[in-house]
């Protein structure tokens, strides 16, 4: 190693940055003089937000800092709710159980990876919360989990327990493995290989789950009866069917990856047939074709702004999809589905102003309060309101401007990303390196 000093300094800086929050103030902060975009309660041109113990206690003008509370000067900056990405695959040790078609026993909540640097990438883009999910290898994938992007904390501290329990479904090309080549001597194609097979296999599993629930009901009745039978063995406990039973009982909601209009409509039919709730369609590139149906059924969509034309079922995905559906009364969120795009979600949301004619605040809603509602966490996050958790992002420009940049990301009142501090550290590391190069002489 050429210069151990530089290495040590750099390593110390990187090590320090690598697993501590940028600042840990115990959740007490006063943000001052920023333009506050509450999303749900208007804009305060020059306002303050007081946070105590991670909760927003006060929003207004000229708030006096209580003793010991760190002040963050936000003059000239924009203060908005932390961005919520409603469809990602980050912070997980694996996203697909592709060996079989139906795998709801596989729960992403069991494989959280809090070491994933995608969390840092998310923070640098103002994202405070992510709904991280199964991929789209299965018609029925499994449960998903909602995480706060608390870099450096143990994985269990990231889980948002208030969120709705969601079950990932997928339809279309990915699920029927249309891009897979069948090699001679290799494993046979996995059923289903057509969209009709996809629906059939889901129906089969729902029927099996109903059977399972019935078998357990009968067993429980027998067990509780006045004279239970001499030999009484419980049915097999089947982790796979238990998850489906939860969906049918209303304890979970479906989040379904879909592209084509037909497959979405048919899935809505399945949901009606078996009595479960669809919270949102993912990607939904043809949602604009069935906007009325979606609005009528109160099913939301979680979509890209304009990443399209990468496969046949995305060939009719128009950039107006999100904006048009929003105007039609569909609950729309913009997602990233990418460890890279997650840091420019705000850029994507802003495109709906051009493609769809949404207002600034409507566009901002697509990445704040709307995904919060879809995930069932709108009581605790998604807007800047007194009583909500202090998940806040501070930008140098209005987030719907292409010139915007995230400067600070706060979760539960602690700053997990602080660009100014990062730049100061770089400067100091550079200065130390210079000094070291000159042999220690200033």
């Amino acid at each position: 190693m050429k210069n151990p000093t530089i290495f040590l300094v750099f390593a110390a800086f990187v090590l320090a940055a690598s697993f501590q929050p940028a600042s840990a103030e115990g959740g007490n902060l006063l943000i001052k003089n920023g333009t506050i975009l509450t999303v749900t309660q208007g804009i305060i041109a020059k306002g303050d937000i007081l946070i105590l113990n991670g909760i927003i206690r006060q929003i207004g003008e000229n708030i006096n800092p209580p003793a010991g509370v760190k002040v963050i000067e936000a003059s000239g900056k924009f203060v908005l709710p932390g961005i919520i990405d409603s469809h990602t695959h980050i912070a997980l040790a694996g996203t697909n159980e592709g060996s079989e078609a139906i795998t709801p026993e596989a729960d992403v909540g069991a494989v959280i990876n809090a070491d994933d640097t995608a969390i840092l990438t998310a923070l640098s883009g103002g994202v405070t919360m992510a709904h991280t999910m199964h991929g789209s290898a299965n018609p029925i994938g499994g449960p998903n989990v909602v995480l706060k992007m608390k870099w450096g904390k143990p994985s269990e501290d990231l889980v948002v327990t208030e969120a709705l329990r969601t079950l990932k479904f997928a339809l279309g090309e990915n699920v029927k493995q249309s891009s897979r080549t069948i090699l001679p001597g290799g494993p046979p194609p996995r059923y289903p290989q057509t969209r009709m097979g996809v629906n059939a296999i889901m129906r089969r599993e729902f029927l099996r789950a109903q059977n399972y629930m019935a078998a357990w009901d009968r067993y429980n009745k027998l067990k509780a009866s006045k004279i239970p039978p001499k030999i009484l063995l419980p049915p097999r406990r089947d982790l796979r069917l238990e998850v489906l039973a939860d969906l049918l009982r209303g304890k979970m909601v479906a989040r379904c990856h879909d592209y084509q209009a037909t497959e979405a409509l048919e899935f809505i039919g399945l949901a009606k047939e078996f009595g479960f709730k669809i919270a949102a369609f993912e990607h939904a590139w043809e949602a604009y074709k069935i906007a009325d149906e979606l609005a009528g059924e109160k099913i939301g969509i979680s979509v890209f702004a304009d990443s399209w034309a990468y496969k046949m079922e995305a060939a009719e995905g128009i950039a107006y999809d999100a904006g048009y559906c929003a105007k039609k009364g569909v609950l729309v969120s913009i997602n990233s589905d990418s460890g890279e795009r997650i840091r420019r979600l705000f850029n994507d949301a802003s495109k709906t102003m051009k493609y769809g004619g949404l207002s600034e605040n409507e566009a901002l809603s697509l990445i704040t309060i709307n995904p919060a509602i879809q995930l069932g966490v709108d009581r605790i996050v998604g807007s800047l309101e007194v009583g909500k958790q202090a998940d806040i992002a501070i930008f140098n420009e209005h987030p719907m401007s292409a010139y915007a940049r995230c400067d600070m990301t706060i979760i539960d009142g602690d700053a997990y990303f602080d660009r100014a501090a990062l730049l100061r550290e770089r400067e100091e590391a550079a200065k130390k390196a210079e000094v070291a190069k000159k042999g220690g002489r200033p």
Binding site: F10, V14, T117, L120, T121, S124, S179, Y288, K289, A291, D292, D306, S307, W308, A309, Y310, K311, M312, A314, A315, E316, I318, A319, Y320, Y324, K328, S336, S338, G339, E340, R341, I342, R344, N347, S350, K351, M353, K354, Y355, E360, N396, E397, M400, S401, A402, Y403, A404, R405, L422, R426
Partner: protein, 431 residues
Amino acid sequence: MTKRCWILLLIVILAAGFISGQTKTAKITAIRGAKIIPVVGEDLDVGTILIKDGKIEAIGKDISIPAGAEIVEAKGWRAYPGMIDSYAFLGLQEITGVNETVDNRETGRMNPQVRAVEALRYDSMHIPIARSNGITAALVAPAGGVIAGQSVLIKLDGWTNREMVVKNPAAMQIEFPGIRGARGGGGGGSGQRGAAAADAGRLIAELKDLFTKARFYEKRKNYAAKTLTLALPEFDETAEFLLPVVKGQTPVMISVHADRDIRAAIQFVKEENLKAIFFGAEQGWKVADDLKKAEIPVIIGSLYDLPPVWDDGYDQLFLNPVVMNKAGVKIAFASVSATMAKDLPYHAAKAAAFGLDKKEALKAVTIYPAEIFGVEKLMGSLEKGKTANIVLSDGDILETRTNIQKVFIDGKECDLSNRYTELLEKFKKRS
């Protein structure tokens, strides 16, 4: 017929041609009332642009509009030069995951003979979408291998691929390896970083070898042409198509990424006396002074990507153009896409968010690419004599919320309908 009749006939024919030419080219368009941002020169708060024969006839505050001119009322709008995408796959990709519709990557390492223009699908659905966002020209490049082929500069308007050509070939595309130990950059999907397999040094040696071979090949061909007894060399496709590069007629665009490789590429370009443009240069900020000294312009790769080297910082890709621009390197932005070509201005805005001067950001999608590709006399700014590639917008064209109102290419107003609007209109009819 008498001699006089012949002369009369001739005069009539010539006159007819002249007259019809006159009426064909007599149309003048006047864009009135817009705020004019010419990019070169001072902005005008309110002004008029006169277009004649497809060129900008005049720009100014108080321009008199000749009678019979078609007037485009642009009050409240802004007029910009049409933007130029410095590296795109427009016309070479329709559905990126469906190989049958993808033509930008030929197989094999050395393909100087392939020409992007010959595969350019002029009616790609992505071209009108880009055009309707104010992009009026693009460099369409093949990719892959070491020598990917010849790129072409096109205007985004034309009824055939050949009609779209502005400059062909624009450059010979060469690709150096990616940064060794770089992370995968998943999610960006720009495909701009090649596998870090080969060593740039070995690659340069190989290219020099090919160039030397090409020179000798030509020398031998010429000598043999003069001397019948001397055998002609065996036809060498690679040498044949490398000659314009070797002779300095066609510039090379070298896709290069790591700082060491950039230095090696600068050296290579100097030794071989090539006219060069660099593409990518993700670690160009580390060797910005070398780039400036060598006067090599840099096309910035897609900013929709993760930084290739973690230690360089989360914002490395965004700061890269800022640092190079401050050091005096000429930069230009690119979409590196077909499906996302319309996003060209937002890469520029992203760099501005991290410190690039906003005027420089605008230049990097207008006049700088024009200069880099040697077409600055034709486009890149709103100046008298240049082609009338003009964009009228209701705001800053680098802003995502801005709506493009009109696009003129070669003085003709373009149809702004596209795949997006067609499908939208169709399904609007449902309600």
